[in-house]
């Protein structure tokens, strides 16, 4: 009983018997729980459905059955747009929107779902510098940035949208070790300091091993459901 109370108080996102199609032949079913302020790594071989699971959790891929809850509230009670703002999927190929870096970072503030249209420019510059991107890049055309720079700008853009969970899909893949660790450390700081939680899919899990709180292996989670 006491454990149940503790679990419900710390539980941020839960998925219960969540099923989704991986392709025309495979249907996966998983259950998982993510608590406040934790980094969870999702491991498993290539093609096992990690990305599709993240996209299903973000309601960007159709779920067949099952329940998802955010802070104890059923996903059916939360509009998809609001859900995606809170559970933000960050792809390994994040697109830069047309315009400057500033336009990209400001973009989340322009959306109807945004609680405030105030853009914290100083925070954006601080984050850019922390990730090794000079503040002057703010006025650069986002399309001319390198792949690694775009990946870091995309992460900052997502952080500035203030989601409760980031579903980080191979976000350090285009980065060298130095920049990858800067990203991991930044996220860890936000997790510990701001209550953010992160679910990570990574081909190089060693970059994350010092900050990971828990691990889910998708092969074990989906055993017998294919």
């Amino acid at each position: 009983m006491f454990n149940d109370i503790v679990n419900s108080a710390t539980e941020l996102l839960s998925a219960i018997r969540l099923s989704f199609k991986l392709d025309s032949a495979r249907l996966l079913e998983v259950s998982l729980q993510v608590n406040y302020s934790e980094i969870v790594i999702l491991s498993g071989p290539s093609g096992s459905g990690k990305t599709t699971l993240l996209r299903t959790l973000a309601r960007m891929h159709p779920r067949i059955e099952g329940i998802m809850k955010l802070e104890g509230k059923n996903c059916m009670e939360i509009p998809p747009v609001k859900w995606r703002r809170n559970i933000s999927y960050l792809s390994q190929y994040p697109a830069m929107l047309p315009g400057t870096v500033y336009d990209n970072l400001f973009y989340p503030c322009t959306l109807a779902v945004s609680r405030t249209s105030d853009f914290n420019k100083q925070l954006a510059i601080d984050l850019m510098q922390e990730l090794g991107i000079p503040g002057e890049f703010m006025l650069k055309d986002a399309a001319v940035l390198s792949g690694g720079e775009q990946a870091r700008i995309a992460l900052i853009r997502t952080l500035l949208a203030e989601p409760k969970i980031i579903l980080a899909d191979e976000i350090t893949a285009p980065l060298d070790d130095k920049n990858a660790y800067a990203v991991v450390n930044l996220l860890n700081r936000w997790v510990k300091g701001c209550g953010l939680s992160v679910i990570v899919v990574a081909h190089s899990p060693e970059r994350w091993e010092k900050v990971i709180d828990r691990e889910y292996n998708i092969a074990e989670m989906t055993e017998g459901t294919e």
Partner: protein
């Protein structure tokens, strides 16, 4: 002024076939494989237009509101089916959406022109409504095809960008707004291009026809201006309506981009 009409006799009409025969001979000698289509197309032109001529004579003489309204709807139906067939980037697009858009824009523009511009006594004056609806439909049909096809091709090629926006909390509308603008632009470009060059590069068919039929060129020009503007307005209205009616089809019930529209990656 109509005394200037130069009638085309049966013999004159047959003489015009010589032009097609010359093109057919060239096609055959170069083995372009177009001879059959050329002959079939020419026969269809004769048959379809003669039937249309007789039908129009009958429709004009009956001048019934039900007949006129029904014929315009039939024209819209055929045009909408043709419009959705000319969209290589879309499979199974519902013709009903194109039909609604074309019908609404055609009726709106045709009756505005009939009433307000030409000041016809009756809204169902077949001699005015049918040719106007025909011209409006012929052009908006192309605009609609181009617009909706561009919308789908834009979304496919920029699906990654749209998904990024959705992941940040954008509504479907916010995520595709800029692509809707592109689609509208594509749908309206032919009409706007025509406005730019008319009278300089091209002499439009309707005006040429009127002049050949002996009409005063000043009046023919006035009619052509009305036609050009109404065609542009109809293409814009039809395209706008179709894009607004169909953009939600790009997304599933959760507002996520449909699987089949996703690109293969960056």
């Amino acid at each position: 002024m109509n005394s200037g009409v130069v009638p085309i006799s049966d013999l004159n009409l047959i003489l015009s076939v010589i032009l097609v025969l010359i093109v057919g001979a060239i096609s055959a000698s170069l083995k372009l494989g177009m001879l059959k289509s050329l002959i079939w197309g020419s026969i269809r032109t004769f048959v379809q237009l003669f039937i249309m001529g007789y039908a129009l004579v009958w429709i004009f003489s009956v001048d019934s509101p039900i007949l006129v309204a029904g014929l315009v709807i039939l024209m819209c139906f055929i045009a909408s089916r043709t419009a959705v067939k000319r969209t290589p980037n879309i499979s199974n697009f519902p013709a009903v959406l194109a039909f609604i858009s074309l019908t609404a824009s055609t009726y709106l523009v045709t009756f505005f022109v009939t009433f307000a511009v030409i000041s016809a006594d009756r809204w169902y004056t077949a001699r005015i409504v049918i040719p106007i609806a025909g011209m409006v439909l012929g052009n908006s049909m192309n605009g609609l095809s181009l617009g909706i096809d561009r919308l789908y091709s834009e979304v496919r090629s920029r699906s990654w960008e749209i998904e990024t926006q959705l992941a940040l909390g954008a509504t479907p509308w916010e995520a595709v707004r800029s692509h809707l603008k592109e689609a509208l632009r594509a749908g309206m470009t032919p009409s706007i291009n025509s406005l730019m060059v008319v009278g300089i590069v091209t002499l439009p068919g309707m005006m040429t026809g009127q002049i050949l039929a002996g009409a005063d060129p000043h009046q023919a020009v006035r009619y052509q201006i009305v036609v050009m503007l109404m065609v542009t307005a109809a293409a814009a209205a039809g395209c706008l309506l179709l894009v607004m009616l169909s953009y939600k089809r790009l997304f599933d019930k959760e507002g996520a981009l449909r699987q089949e529209l996703k690109g293969s990656g960056k």
